[in-house]
Amino acid sequence: MKALYKKLAIQNLTKNRTVYIPYIMAQTLMVALFYDLLFLEGNKKILYLPGGETIQQTLAYGGLLMGVFVMIFLFYVNSVLIKQRKKEFGLYRVLGMEHRHLKKVIFYETSIANAVSFVLGIISGIVFSGLMYMILLKILGEKAALAFGISGEAIWYTLLQFGFLFLVVLLYNYRQLKKVNLRELLQEHAQGDREPKTKKGLMIFGIICLIIGYGIALVVRNIFASLIWFFVAAIFVIIGTYALFTAGSIIFLKKIKEDKEKYYTPRYFTAVSGLLHRMKRNAAGLAGICILSTMILVTCAMSVSVFFGQQHAIRTIFPSDIIVTMSGTSDPQQDIEYIKGQAEKAAQQTGISVKEVKLSDLSEVEKSMTLVEGTQNVQIELSGSDEEKYECSTRLELNTEDGSYTYQSAHFISKQSPQEGAQSIRATYGGFLFLGIFLGAMFMVATVLMIYYKQISEGYEDRQRYVIMKKVGMNDEEVRESIQTQVLLVFFLPLVMAAVHILAALKIMVQICGILSIGFGTVFLCTIGTVLVFSLIYKGVYKQTAKVYYTIVDQQ
């Protein structure tokens, strides 16, 4: 008996391979990414690198974020798949299979799908870990060394995470099985989706949510509140997007339908009527694609900004070759003279010369972070190479007492040079950049999967309609045109919306990047670039999956 269930489970998975293979592939990728993140986060070699601790903290934070996202996303995908198969389960029941038998089949199906993706995921995770390790070292400015990582701990935590997911998914699938109502099932097919009602209230609600979300994003001033407000704004925007897609798309399509001159043309007639009827179910998917796209855009735009802004940021934080920070000065001129003298001594020993020594104000960022009152910076400019400058800065001696630099009236809080500082900056920024790449990749996988599922489920729905229309006298070209109108509306609406979202998010992004001393120009250009590149990728994905759609519709 057991063998029979197993066989049935495998048969079912193969029969539904058009949906299960992408699902297993996506889960595999997520397991691999998750494993790699954990592996890097716990890697001792990285910990002992300069700045390694900072990076690992950033990664830990990212791991948490990723864990939550992966759970929600894979759970959602599974629920969509299992709901699609309700009819199949109903058929088994009609053919005389008992509920508990079906439960066993489901158990094997879920186990096989999860086990396969877990094992494949861990294997590819181990294979890729070397690459990830190299990339991370490169970002940190270290010599890249190839090392494969098999970490029992990382495997164990990945197993915990995906084991938990497996349990949740299994229980959910059991519940769905219970919900299969045979009588309804047999009637379901005859009942088409009704034309949905216009929901003006929901639309207004959505618009209000968006306005609030955008408003927060545009109004927030305090840099440190940015992060929290970013999430609050994001939640409003997510709710608003769902509401707007659900209600707005229906209103939009109905508008076209009311315009009789437009509606009764080959281009719009079948596309609009078809879309309208399934919009109730589709809107959530579209909103999901839009939100995911926005997440990709935000993550990637910020990472790219960090990447390109790094050099500039080092220069902003360390505007000169050596910076001496001091406080409580009663006679700054005298202090500068002293520093100058010491610096010249150090420069002479190194074999270079001092170009300029001057007093400077603190930057906005520094002001907000400095606790000591009356703090001032002295900037020292040197001639020579980076190495020589660094050597000179280590030679520079300033009198200290009680652990802080003191001279006459001044307390010298710190002495820094960019060469030193760059290390810690690279660690912080590198962490962000790396995490950005990671999360971006994950969101991308999720988006592609969602687009793919939309295309195939719609393909199967539309097939019968296009068969009928061909019989009645629609030619292949017209079929393609009609499909294009439909697909264009469906797929580029989320993209446009995502672009609008990111425009609203731009200010907050600039503020967050401001903490890292990355300027508006950099963020703006990087965002535009990211949007353009993403649009191209999106178009490519759409084209590839549209091919799948055409093949399904064209099948005889």
Binding site: A190, Q191, G192, D193, R194, E195, K260, E261, Y264, T265, P266, F269, T270, S273, G274, L276, H277, R465, I468, M469, K470, K471, V472, G473, M474, N475, D476, E477, E478
Partner: protein, 253 residues
């Protein structure tokens, strides 16, 4: 006057895998005059649907010619064939083939929309046809809200709206109860009286007895044909039954 001429049509299906060939039609020859009402009968698998698909340009014959008003349809390009189907032919199928996403009215208008007719012309045409098929009150409803008979009448309306030269029907009464079937047959008789040429494939002796002529297909060939002439429907019914019995028992004609 001759409207449709089918000359020695042969159809062989070649299955992709295995390479076994199925001969669905071996040698079909017949013609139909303008204003005729012809039924085609035959056992399951005798090639009726295949023949209809070829007449509809949905499929191409392996051999032979089909002429509509003297013009050969044989190898029209895909685009021309679609235009031809839309403008010259009207279809009625067993399972209605209505689009669930369109209202009854829009289903009927579909061929006009595909042909790019102006909107006011569409509205002008739909009124009389809907009235004739007794579906004027249903125009705003959707296919899932109406009965099988009403669906089939909607499909007939869609078939008629382009004023086609020929109506092709594949077992139009197959999914209807006897009352709805009779209603539909009355409608076919009525539109035929008004000059519409109808070609109908059917399993039902009842349905065939409404036609003016019945063609019997066996083993991919025209086996026999009956003209109704001045006979009553009951007499015609009896004659069809006799021929069918002869086919079933393998007797000579």
């Amino acid at each position: 006057m001759e409207l449709l001429k089918v000359e020695q049509v042969k159809k062989i299906y070649t299955t992709k895998l295995g390479g076994s060939n199925v001969q669905a039609l071996s040698d079909i020859t017949f013609s139909i005059d303008r204003g005729e009402y012809v039924a085609i009968m035959g056992e399951s698998g005798s090639g009726k649907t295949t023949l209809l698909n070829i007449l509809a340009t949905l499929d191409q014959p392996t051999k032979g010619k089909i002429l509509l008003e003297g013009k050969e349809l044989g190898r029209l390009s895909e685009k021309k064939a679609a235009k031809f189907r839309r403008e010259q032919l009207g279809f009625v199928f067993q399972d209605f083939n209505l689009l669930d996403t369109l209202s009854v009215k829009d289903n009927i208008l579909l061929p006009l929309v595909l042909s790019g007719y102006p909107q006011n012309e569409m509205m002008k045409r739909i009124k009389p046809i809907a009235a004739r098929l007794h579906i004027s009150d249903l125009l705003e409803k959707y296919p899932y809200e109406i009965s099988g008979g009403q669906k089939q009448r909607t499909a007939v309306a869609r078939g008629l709206i382009m004023n086609p030269k020929l109506i092709l029907a594949d077992e139009p009464t197959g999914a209807l109860d006897s009352h709805a079937a009779l209603q539909l047959l009355d409608i076919f008789a009525e539109i035929n009286r008004d000059g519409q040429t109808v070609l109908m494939v059917t399993h039902s002796t009842e349905a065939a007895s409404h036609a003016k002529r019945v063609l019997f297909i066996k083993d991919g060939m025209v086996y026999h044909q009956l003209y109704r002439g001045e006979r009553s429907r009951e007499e015609m019914y009896q004659m069809i039954t006799n021929v069918l019995t002869a086919i079933a028992t393998g007797g000579e004609r």
